[in-house]
Symmetry: C2
Subunit: 356 residues, 2 copies
């Protein structure tokens, strides 16, 4: 049977510590050349009225776990300016006002499709776990205080992850909308059992923090050079969040896999922000990202993420990997089978008797 | 609702002439920069005992039709030598002895998943239609006789396509196994209403033919320089079939899209044939494929496929395109909806209410 799982199913079985451990192991497999992951690609065409239709895919295979996966998104995208910064916002135009993002999981032993799941919860957990590994390998061991910039869906899993890898005692939160940051602080305080203090400026939230987590949907910088202090670790969930002058001040900048930008194919004359064209951030920032250590290098021990307590380190979760969806999709699938979750469909519906 | 279609459903609604027309239009859209297609990628890892697990994807978007698609294959692959030539053979290891190849079709208007279908019948029709367009734009208008090398699943659609674009009066068929070529000749004669004569050598089948269709699963050459005669069009469904000395003798060699080889990511130390590593055929053959006209150039009128009656032309269907599956998948989907075919599942199962 092939399992159809919902975000609720996936959410009920995924734990952050397990996701972090499994991804850590998968980076060792990547570093050893046994696992593979194909850089994300974006296919972009005009969707009328300034919107863009984007079809995004990424693939990965983790033979030690026996899984392959493709993660795909079929999105109508706009880039509005909110509170002074430009954001990338998907339009929920599928029936019922919904988004379309899927993970298909396959067996590397038989080739068969094992499960089809929405990508949302997995995306949240894999982004959190990745930045959590950035903290584990780059932040000070004795880091206790965290500032988080952002109060959305991703910000929650960033906090889950940092609390899984360091003994965090205090969290301060800033996001432009006071209602959002107060709701977020209350909800996540309950969830994590750690006090979260909403702040009315980024500067106040950041000052004195050991770790700063950027977790916005901004496509412009939200963390700057003057926000830095010795010993700090600054973590970002996308390339633009940390200003390039801040990167230059850092002693070490780590990247996730170093893909930086997707393989991009786009219609002629399409008008989209530079980053959506797959143009290198390095070229734009005048920063040499190619020389940065990558997470698999740090996890495998080839490179040290931090040498001294007073170093300033940054970690940028530059692009997601299909591999992460194979790994975390595999965890969700196995737990869902054990618990009897999801809709079972005949695997014959998704296989064929002709040699294609 | 999201439709789950079978190969039988797809087969019952796809007609070769319609596929050829729709692909022809999509190449005009590609040439005009309005449609996009992301080069196929292969992610390869070891599967034990000399086998390889391959996860293959390709994406395409045709906004004029309102469709995007990903085509994916999850294969366990071997490369045995049969009748003296090396072949690429997928192992049907999914439950029931089946293969795993899927096309997922999406709306560019809403993002929603419209249909999930096996890729087999579409693959057969899109390969046939592509080489049919090669014949349309490169073979002599008065071509009447065809030789086909191969008697498998793809050979049938090659004949359907050549008969759709030229008034074919005689077909000769060669493949190494006499039973296969006799069965194939009888079946396709009935289907096409054209006499097909099985032959006991490739040379006899080819001699005097206006068009030669290579349609094998060989990854070594099966058509050679001395097989050529003035005015002939030679068509191939994969890069290796036409020997490089024959390509050098040709007056013009057309490619499909010119991708030649997939984007390949593979485990370290994996042992696979050169072509599976994504290494360029041009480098291996010492042939400048980059300068060859591509099918969109010929369809849009930017380049002429044939200048004179006595020219020798070749067309190589170098790599499939995600775009083709968006186009042909769209045709199958619309016809299936009209006829009430397939299993309907709630689209909510494949969408989500979180911004992923």
């Amino acid at each position: 049977m092939t399992l159809i799982l919902s975000n609720d199913d996936v959410d009920s079985v995924l734990r952050m510590d397990r996701c972090i451990d499994a991804l850590e192991e998968s980076y060792r497999e990547i570093a050893a050349g046994r696992a593979v992951t194909r850089q994300r690609s974006d296919s972009l065409v005009g969707a009328g009225d300034g919107a863009v239709y984007g079809f995004k895919t990424m693939d990965g295979v983790i033979p030690s776990q026996g899984y392959a996966a493709v993660r795909l998104n079929s999105d109508i995208i706009r880039w509005p300016t909110v509170a002074g910064t430009q954001r990338r916002v998907k339009q929920p135009l599928a029936p019922g006002g919904r988004y379309t993002g899927l993970v298909l999981l396959f067996s590397t032993k038989t080739g068969e499709p094992l499960a089809i799941m929405p990508d949302g919860v997995m995306q949240r957990m894999r982004v959190g776990a990745t930045n959590g590994l950035g903290v584990k390998y780059m932040a000070r061991e004795d880091a206790r205080s965290v500032a988080i910039l952002g109060s959305g869906w991703q910000a929650g899993s960033q906090l889950m992850a940092v609390c899984a890898v360091r003994r965090i005692r205090e969290i301060r939160c800033y996001s432009p909308n006071p209602d959002n940051r107060e709701r977020f602080a209350a909800e996540m305080s309950d969830f994590l059992g750690v006090a979260i203090l909403p702040q009315d400026s980024a500067e106040v939230a950041i000052a004195g923090s050991d770790i700063v987590l950027c977790s916005s949907n901004s496509i412009e910088p939200i963390f700057f050079r003057d926000d830095m202090s010795p010993g700090m670790h600054v973590s970002s969930i996308k390339m633009p969040e940390i200003d390039h002058e801040a990167l230059r001040r850092a002693d070490r900048v780590g990247l996730h896999m170093g893909h930086q930008t997707p393989i991009t194919v786009m219609a002629a004359d399409l008008e989209v922000p530079d980053h959506a064209k797959g143009r290198g951030w390095g070229a734009r920032h005048g920063y040499d990202f190619d020389s940065c250590p990558k997470l698999p290098d740090m996890v495998s021990g080839a490179v040290r993420g931090r040498e001294r307590a007073d170093e300033i380190t940054c970690f940028i979760n530059d692009l997601g990997l299909g591999l992460q969806f194979a790994v975390i999709g595999g965890i969700a699938y196995e737990a869902a089978v054990e618990k009897g979750l999801g809709h079972e469909l005949p695997t014959d519906w998704f296989t064929e008797d002709v040699h294609p």
